[in-house]
Point group: C2
């Protein structure tokens, strides 16, 4: 199912202890409701067109400590305890590179081990 | 001018010292280029359909200390020194409320003083 971007809110996940920004994703109404109800981050995948619980495959889930909403109510900020790494590439944060390409992030898991080889994805 | 969302990158501004997430906005290619060249945050306003330098009216500019890009290159993380407050409502951060509406942010300026009365906006 394709959702219009106007039905989605941006969602920033931030480490609740260190303040590290981990990832930027999107939530539909159900993802936000499930996140609040279960205390685990749920998102809407725009590329796959479906609801998604962070860590459902990798185990790298996000335990929600607090949730904030911005002034115009189109962005959510989640303070989370990140299990393992947030990024599907194996880095702790999706923002593991400077804009010039320099890698500064910390690799914390092997994505092939978590998700299988690329052809199985 | 209306830009397709696919031409825009999400842009998160974060306080470079405290780690506080200040706002979520968008950048087109020119806004990113100008941000890099000038060291001051520029964004693309989706609602006004134009390029915008943060602080051009309010003086509350963002001095860029570092720029990161995410794994799939559709989101930017700016580490900034925020002059005054980031939010047009007068709060330091746009994420000044919990999802239940509780206000937890710090009000740092009077928006009427900075932008004029609502009818003049």
């Amino acid at each position: 199912m394709k959702k219009e971007d106007k039905e989605l809110k941006h969602a920033i996940a931030q480490d609740y202890e260190t303040g590290e920004v981990l990832m930027l994703a999107h939530m539909d109404e159900e993802a936000l409701r499930l996140s609040i109800e279960t205390g685990r981050a749920h998102y809407w995948s725009r590329s796959r067109g479906k609801l998604w619980r962070k860590g459902e495959v990798s185990g790298n889930e996000q335990i929600i400590k607090d949730i904030f909403i911005d002034c115009d109510e189109d962005a959510i900020l989640l303070k989370v305890k990140q299990i393992g790494g947030a990024c599907h590439t194996g880095y702790r944060s999706c923002f593991y590179r400077r804009i010039n390409g320099e890698i500064v992030g910390e690799k914390v898991f092997d994505p092939e081990e978590k998700y299988g080889k690329k052809e199985d994805k």
